[in-house]
Symmetry: C2
Subunit: 464 residues, 2 copies
């Protein structure tokens, strides 16, 4: 379905040669145009607006596959209108096959929601610029509007670079920095926040924000790209529009990860920050909720958010109280057959205050670890058990090993993701000195990280 | 569909009061009977044969849900034939809804395949006995035939207890023991081997056998149960019949994990031992192939094996050459944000010869580990990179972090599961002292652990 809305914007963003070419062709924003370059390459798509006041020889079109591209032009370029916006709209009314979905500009700019996009680095931020080969390490609101003009139709965009790192270098200290900036923005009265983040550790950061931003009053949407924007299959624009839509319009006030739901451009998903995981190295739909239904489907072109479950908190329902801080002496240890207990002993000796075990099955490790785990308990190291199966729920009462581990003081992690349990334990230990209080808090559902009821259909369908 | 075959077995296995009750009722094996006990409980199902010569007051019936149950009886029990086997067969011919699937006894017992079931422990072995509450820690061929008579229709069963441990206590030394017993049995001319194993670490053991049993000439099927046999929803019988079928009849000679493919009793899957993973703490269909199609669908009641892909090796194609041995000084380390490099340094200092990293995304870790990983290389510790996303393929050439890690000597693990990479590295390091040879072998596809081509449909469908 084509959604061509009122696009009242003119050619103001285009200057110099780009403006001249477009004016000579009589092209208007929303028209379907053809650009023929001197090098013989041809581009067809819907003419997109440009917000930049920096003169660059670029014309931005939305290609038939839904992706925007900035076409570099020069004196030898020819521009031609193939179909006017009006003709496209007419075709759409008559049920013609989808041409290009465009967002409708809101008629009342004065009341538009205010959204801040915070840049932390990663593919989405470093390559948000469309010009071929141009890698931009940071971005301004204007850069974003140039690259993905659609976000300007949804909200008044403000952008800020908080840091510029590859997300594999993210760490608990940087989580604290992000928490502080988000809190500042919320105090300034922003309606929603988007955090552009590398995908590698995005789920960890989402969990961290979920625990630290207590009583969140607005949506915080983390977003990234699996493919950089200079590739034709980039998911950057689709995801960013979806995330801005969540920040601007979602009824829920939760920390979410907003990423492609499928490999097509049908919908994005808003996942609860404590139940989401990157499940594929490269697919666009790599992010998936585990042991939980996603919070919402997000249709960026239709500007529609479809709730899939009741949220933890509605917009404006509570008041923000920041509980920032993460204990650095916490480890996530995956069990494997024959694992030497010396690794546990080492962590105890090095003064670790918490260990999250990624055990087997219902929450087991080999009995050779038992003495060291008892020692951990005696040294007031909080040990939490999760499962490397990822799906399902730890149950340490079924088998003798589980019961022995419980007796040794290991705290069952219920259905928490190992990664979320790690972040949670880091957060808890930064906020209490009491060993028993920390152990108690691990078992409490603090930010939707525990899902008490699993329906049978939560498990994915495997390809066989 | 009902498959009621020729069941020529009589009531020989039943003795004492059970035999008397059945004879008085005129019941034959395969008849649909009702058992009314003195305590008011009633059981309906198909009368199953019993192989035991030990007199026990038990009648085994296959319930409508497909599960066998051993009903304890006494003088106050009434037995009644509701429908004869012949009537059931007639109904089945006329397309009546499924009653009970039963296996057909092979007409030529002399040429029946010989299958050895090796017990290592776990739910399937410790609870294979149906009598309520009776937990049997080990099993004999007769115990198995009593509990799951169907396996006796498929092959001549021989059973041996190799060990009796909970699988969380499995370790590389015990892998070596299993490899030796399997090799012995193959030398004795067995047609296939079933290994009853706890599910927690079954996939690790399957990978270990895959690397150690070079040129395997017969199928080796690992099998387990997610629910113990004393529970009505037990998957023990279904899985065991499927595994025996694979051992007896599969055309492929590979190490596989044979477990429920779905939550219903439609088919089991035979997964390649190097590509399978336990993905759920408790579901019957917990075992799934990752980054690979399962080898076959197994329909135990229809005795049908449907190949889903070409096998690595066909039955009898090669000759067994055992390469047993696993290096114990190998660790599997999962990366998490802020991870302290001291953990890597500790492993180097403790003389570890190999480390498998479960990195983020395409195969990354935070740059704080870089110096320690270089030190590992200088100390000839083989470091292999896999991804905690599980799905997809490590690609360390895309981002600068990956390239830095490659430069530091980290070996990319392609699309290998972290667990399989751990087992593989343990195996490699037990068979070469050459650092460079070990690094080279990691990248070689030794037992189907690397899948070079991923089709788009290999990723599961998520519930949204």
């Amino acid at each position: 379905m084509v959604i061509l809305g009122r696009m009242n914007l003119g050619l103001e963003g285009y200057t110099g040669i780009a403006r001249r070419l477009l004016e000579n062709a009589g092209a208007k924003i929303g028209d379907y145009i053809r650009i023929r370059r001197g090098d013989g390459r041809e581009f067809k798509g819907v003419l997109m607006p440009r917000y930049s006041i920096v003169s660059r020889p670029i014309i931005v079109v939305k290609l038939d596959n839904g992706y925007n591209v900035g076409v570099k032009i020069d004196e030898n370029t020819a521009v031609e209108v193939i179909k006017t916006k009006e003709a496209l709209l007419e075709e759409a009314k008559q049920g013609a096959p989808a041409v290009i979905p465009l967002l409708e500009e809101k008629p009342t700019p004065g009341k538009r929601p205010k959204v801040t996009i915070l840049g932390t680095g990663g593919t989405i931020a470093s390559r948000i610029e469309y010009e071929t080969g141009a890698v931009k390490p940071a971005f301004s609101a204007r850069d974003i509007l140039d690259a993905v003009p659609e976000v300007g139709f949804i909200a008044d965009i403000d952008a800020e670079v908080v840091m510029n790192i590859l997300s594999e270098n993210m760490n608990p200290m940087l989580w604290e920095k992000i928490v502080n900036v988000v809190a500042e923005k919320i105090e300034e009265g922003i309606d929603g926040i988007v955090i552009a983040h590398g995908t590698d550790t995005m789920a960890y950061t989402a969990a961290a924000l979920s625990f630290a931003l207590r009583g969140l009053p607005v949506p915080v949407a983390l977003v990234g790209a699996q493919r950089s924007s200079d590739r034709p299959s980039s998911d950057a624009a689709f995801n960013l529009i979806s995330a801005v839509l969540v920040a601007a319009q979602a009824p829920f006030a939760e920390v979410t990860v907003v990423m492609h739901g499928t490999i097509s451009d049908t919908y994005a998903l808003a996942h609860r920050g404590t139940k989401v995981r990157k499940m594929h190295t490269s697919r666009r739909d790599a992010f998936q909720s585990i042991n939980a239904r996603p919070l919402a489907k997000v249709y960026p072109f239709e500007r529609k958010i479809e709730l899939l479950r009741p949220p933890l908190r509605r917009r404006g329902e509570e008041e923000l109280s920041v509980a920032n801080g993460f204990e650095k002496k916490v480890a996530l240890i995956k069990y494997y057959p024959g694992m030497d207990p010396e690794i546990i002993d080492f962590l105890i000796d090095r003064g670790y205050r918490g260990i999250v075990l990624e055990g087997t099955g219902l929450g087991h490790v080999g009995e050779q670890l038992l003495e060291s785990l008892k020692r951990a308990y005696e040294n007031e190291v909080v040990v939490v058990m999760t499962s490397q199966t990822l799906f399902g729920r730890v149950n340490m009462n079924v088998y003798i090993t589980g019961r022995k581990l419980l007796a040794a003081g290991v705290v069952p992690g219920d259905d928490m993701l190992p990664e979320t349990a790690f972040v949670k334990l880091s957060w808890i230990l930064a906020h209490t000195d009491s060993f028993e209080e920390a152990r108690r808090l691990v078992r409490e559902n603090l930010a939707g990280e525990i899902e008490y009821r699993h329906t049978i259909d939560l498990y994915p369908r495997w390809p066989h």
